[in-house]
């Protein structure tokens, strides 16, 4: 079976500095992977590279979504193929109505999937149900995208967008940062409900806390641009107990086989 995401020996630089140094990771449909690691290990860079954020340069290796080369695609094509990034810092877009924005996004994705576009009424019907799951204040939809949203509202809004766009692969970049425990629970429940046999989630986090709510099948430790250890969900608890030092002091690359399910 073709993996949903296959990253092989990925090397990347930002402003001339090498951040990823031969990172490999394979994710199959139906799986949840957690990527943990200390600050500066390259976690967010990985999310940026996979989604195609400008300013990052791939200097070697490959990444494929459903067997298709990801790195040569424009960011919007990656999104239309089903890659979704829940941003660590969702940006505000003043004056652009949230509902309008979401409808435009959904219709782009639907077009790419060969589905008919939804008109305004169909769209409102479609999102009503999704709103409830994330306990999102409906008035947010009438406000400009992320403008004046609290930190928690922004993160919930990211997951709400994920619910609407129904991605094949969702990358959650530090979704837990800045959330209080109630907001964290709501966000995590939202994410868990979106988990299906034909999609996958890659959860990037610094703390084990999020993984109490979004239970991963695999946990990987990223250090100095490589995955230095992979394991089951119990690895997260070990990291919580022992910190990262025991891994980072003897950092070494692991072979790709180890990271494959």
């Amino acid at each position: 079976m073709t993996p949903l995401l296959e990253i092989n020996q990925l090397n990347a630089t930002v402003e001339g500095r090498q951040i990823l140094k031969g990172l490999s990771l394979t994710v199959h449909a139906g799986e949840v992977h957690a990527i943990m690691g200390p600050n500066g290990s390259g976690k967010s860079t990985l999310a940026s590279i996979l989604s195609g954020r400008p300013g990052y340069e791939v200097t070697g290796g490959s990444a494929a979504l459903d067997g298709e080369d990801l790195l040569g695609m424009k960011p919007e094509d990656r999104a239309r193929k089903g890659l979704f990034l829940a941003f660590q810092y969702p940006v505000e877009i003043p004056g652009v109505n949230s509902t309008y924005f979401l409808k435009a996004a959904l219709n782009e994705v639907r077009k790419a999937r060969g589905l008919p576009e939804l008109d305004a009424l169909e769209f409102l019907e479609f999102i009503k149900a999704k709103m409830k799951v994330l306990e999102l204040d409906p008035s947010l939809l009438n406000r400009p995208v992320n403008e004046g949203f609290s930190g928690g509202e922004k993160k919930r809004n990211e997951i709400f967008q994920m619910a609407i766009l129904e991605p094949r692969l969702a990358i959650l970049d530090e979704t837990d940062s800045g959330l209080d425990i109630d907001a964290l629970r709501i966000v995590a429940e939202g994410v868990n409900r979106l988990r299906k046999p034909d999609n996958a989630q890659v959860v990037i986090t610094h703390y084990q806390r999020l993984l109490d709510y979004i239970v991963p099948d695999y946990v990987h430790v990223l250090h100095d641009g490589r995955i230095v250890k992979s394991g089951g969900k119990e690895l997260a608890y070990e990291l919580e107990r022992r910190g990262y030092d025991w891994l980072t002091s003897e950092a070494r690359p692991v072979s790709p086989e180890l990271t494959t399910a």
Partner: protein, 482 residues
């Protein structure tokens, strides 16, 4: 400047070699400007004597003036003797016979603007049935308006049918002595709109140049005069939302608005004259004088403009707030892409007590475009408790364009309260990426972000106009990102 002096010398010398062709057979006069040409225009329009007198006074005054060069605009000298100052509407048979003969690129633009087919034909200058349809439509509306005592017609008709009104109000807000282009317009204007709302009447529909058939082929020197009597209210839409295929043509229009006690005039413009091509060739030189006089107490004049066209825009729709408690507003979106240049803004002259004004200006520069906001807020000594709020934002797309702000503030009364906010920002790469990541292409993302940025102004426009303005913005910014 030498060139202008030479031009003026040539005119003063009374050189008639560019003189007019007799009006019996010709549609247009020969290029050039002199008293003979002005007399010919007046004669062709069968104008009463006071009109010709006024035109000639304006012309003689114009000869004493220098073309203003203080604006932040660069363009080669304009040869005023090479311009055709009068051209009658084309007759059927002269324009393209069907849409098949019209430049496909033009049609493509209409298509994207969503202009209905018969409208496209009319805009492309196709002389077909649609034109006659429009005539009947116009007539229907006009009868309805006439029942309320509203006069809404072309300027030429007004001169014929309501000479007293024209004589009473013409040039009272923008005298021909106002500036170089206002003087030129007064001398040679060929047509335009006239609108008179009687006391206490609220005009039941948006008045638009669309309704008037002879607007389609009006010359480049129009003049609009709107008079709102005591307690009346009117909303007027001006604009051609289709590109004109003109090469560096001079367009010098004048708009005068007069609001008496408690009258309200809302004037909305979507200007999309031909901006020139991507290399900066061609395009309209748009030198326009627009001014409203809030003469009566509690009167209100509101300008909303969306300027996306023209190679050069020089335009400062202004309000003179004479009446006590009167209000002036200016909402503007100005876009410059490719090699377009705009120097635009407003003047708010506070004279009466408790007068208020609001200025919201959104400049957008892309490509090599240069966009300047120039605004004057003047609080005269008599303007007790005057208030102004100004907000001038500039948005840059790319790094070869420019945005400039020239605010002028003069407060002669210590009770004045004036606020000015200005921002300049580059369109956020992170905003574009955010949209990309949700599946939107970069150009769509830019359009969406820019439309969001302009929302404050667009919401001032009547509904259908706002939709067109949004689409137009998309077309104008096409190709603005690599």
């Amino acid at each position: 400047m030498n060139t202008n002096n030479d031009t003026i010398q040539g005119l003063v010398g009374g050189d008639y070699k560019y003189g007019f062709v007799t009006d019996v057979e010709a549609d247009a006069v020969a290029p050039g400007l002199n008293e003979g040409v002005i007399a010919a225009i007046s004669r062709k329009k069968n104008e009463p004597g006071f009109m010709l007198d006024w035109r000639l006074k304006a012309y003689r005054h114009w000869l004493t003036l220098q073309e203003p060069r203080w604006a932040n605009l660069r363009y080669p000298p304009i040869d005023y003797q090479s311009i055709v100052y009068y051209s009658a509407p084309k007759k059927a048979g002269q324009g393209p016979k069907s849409l098949a003969e019209v430049d496909p690129k033009l049609l493509e633009t209409y298509e994207r603007l969503g202009i209905p087919l018969h409208e496209r034909e009319r805009l492309a200058g196709v002389a077909v049935d649609a034109v006659f349809d429009s005539v009947s439509v116009a007539t229907t509306f006009r009868e309805k308006l006439a029942e309320l005592g509203i006069v809404f017609c072309s300027f030429s008709e007004a001169v014929q049918q309501h000479p007293d009104l024209v004589r009473k109000y013409l040039g009272t807000v923008v005298p021909y002595t106002d500036n170089y282009f206002a003087a030129l317009n007064a001398a040679v204007f060929s047509d335009g709109s006239f609108c008179y709302i009687p006391k206490g009447v609220r005009c039941p529909m948006e008045l638009s140049t669309y309704f008037r058939i002879n607007a389609a082929n009006t010359g480049q020197f129009e003049r609009t005069l709107i008079v709102a009597e005591e307690g009346s209210r009117v909303s007027y839409l001006e604009g051609c939302t289709a590109p004109m295929r003109d090469e560096n043509q001079l367009h010098a229009a004048v708009v005068e608005l007069l609001a008496l006690d408690r009258a309200e005039i809302k004037y909305s413009t979507v200007q999309n004259w031909y901006p020139g091509d991507a290399q900066g060739r061609g395009g309209i030189y748009n030198f326009v004088t627009k001014r409203g006089l809030c003469k009566g107490r509690e009167s209100k004049i509101s300008w909303t403009q969306v300027e996306t066209g023209s190679a050069i825009t020089w335009k400062y729709p202004s309000c003179v707030l004479l009446g006590e408690n009167s209000t002036g507003e200016f909402y503007s979106v100005a876009v410059t892409n490719h090699y377009q240049q705009a120097d635009t803004g407003t003047k708010m002259i506070h004279i009466g007590r408790n007068t208020r004004s609001t200025i919201v200006s959104k400049g957008i520069s892309a490509g090599h475009g240069q966009n300047s906001y120039r605004g004057l807020v003047r609080i005269r000594k008599s303007a007790e408790n005057a208030r102004n709020f100004s907000q001038c934002d500039s948005l840059l797309l790319g790094d070869r364009c420019g945005a400039h702000t020239f605010p002028y503030l003069e407060a002669a009364n210590p009770t004045a309260r004036v606020e000015h906010e200005a921002t300049t920002s580059k369109i956020g790469e992170d905003q574009i990426f955010y949209c990309n990541q949700r599946g939107l292409a970069t150009q769509d993302a830019v359009n969406m972000i820019v439309n969001g940025y302009c929302k404050e102004v667009f919401k001032q426009l009547p509904m259908e106009f706002a939709v067109e303005a949004q689409k137009l913005l998309g077309v104008s910014l096409d190709g603005s990102v690599g």
